[in-house]
Symmetry: D2
Subunit: 94 residues, 4 copies
């Protein structure tokens, strides 16, 4: 089976590429000795963009991979999927 | 005056450059159709690294810029600095 | 079936009762006009205690109710359980 | 000087009293062996209510106590106030 996000793989790569560019922009802000608060604000914007990426991949993951495990009836796989979700979402709260 | 982080500007740029590379690595993971949870875990690691950058710049900001405003005795500047801090830290919690 | 937390129901009630007492303590701090930061610190401590309660109930929930749905082989129930988890954990991050 | 929240002390006590009642309600939910997810949802609601209390006290604190330190021109007090804010807000993010 293929993973949920693969359907929109190109859009996701493009989005991450834009985030990569934002990080490079912050490097330039540091080199240009811009005001601390402006830099922190930009870093916060990148973190928020990454969080949205995470949420979207997780949503697709549940709709595809977790659902695939449910359809399969494979209990070991179902348990693994739930444990992974709990683990990754527990960390995402931080 | 110069901003607090400027003293360690090179180290900070290097750190952000490494984060930029991590984002590029995630793009490649997506292109290679790696497992969703592994991608989300990597995105979470980048968010954590950015958060540490934010905390460090803020700490330097308080030690330098805010302290500069305190020494100056300029009340308008002191008020602006406190309002900025509240604003940026209120957002950082998310 | 009974829910996971029920096994330690008494301990959980006792814990919540202590948290209830902490909230009452904060009311008294406000009435006594205690220093703002001390009050905020106490409110933060109560929030942290509640978060630990949440985490524990969720852990028991996964070990019992979600596992029960897995064992049952009931797909509709499994889907409901995963959707609930995503929903509740998405909110818990805040 | 009096603290910022004191102006609305009665409203604040009333609000905390309601939160105390909500915690008592959760104890009853546990005693009645209600569904885990419903309990977790309620705990999350109480945490959100406490967070709003925190934000309001902090806002008043900045408008009164911190501003008082700014007006006083007392640098030691100003530094203490900023350090306290950073400390308490750093924790509030969690």
């Amino acid at each position: 089976m293929t993973y949920g996000y693969v359907e929109e793989k190109d859009a996701l790569v493009k989005r991450l590429h834009r985030i990569e560019g934002q990080v490079r922009g912050i490097e330039r802000m540091v080199e240009d000795e811009r005001y601390c608060i402006d830099i922190v604000t930009q870093v916060g914007a990148v973190r928020a963009a990454l969080r949205r990426v995470e949420e979207e991949i997780l949503r697709d993951h549940v709709a595809h991979c977790v659902d695939h495990a449910i359809k399969s009836g494979n209990r070991a796989d179902q348990r693994r999927k739930v444990a992974e979700l709990m683990d990754v979402m527990g960390r995402a709260g931080r």
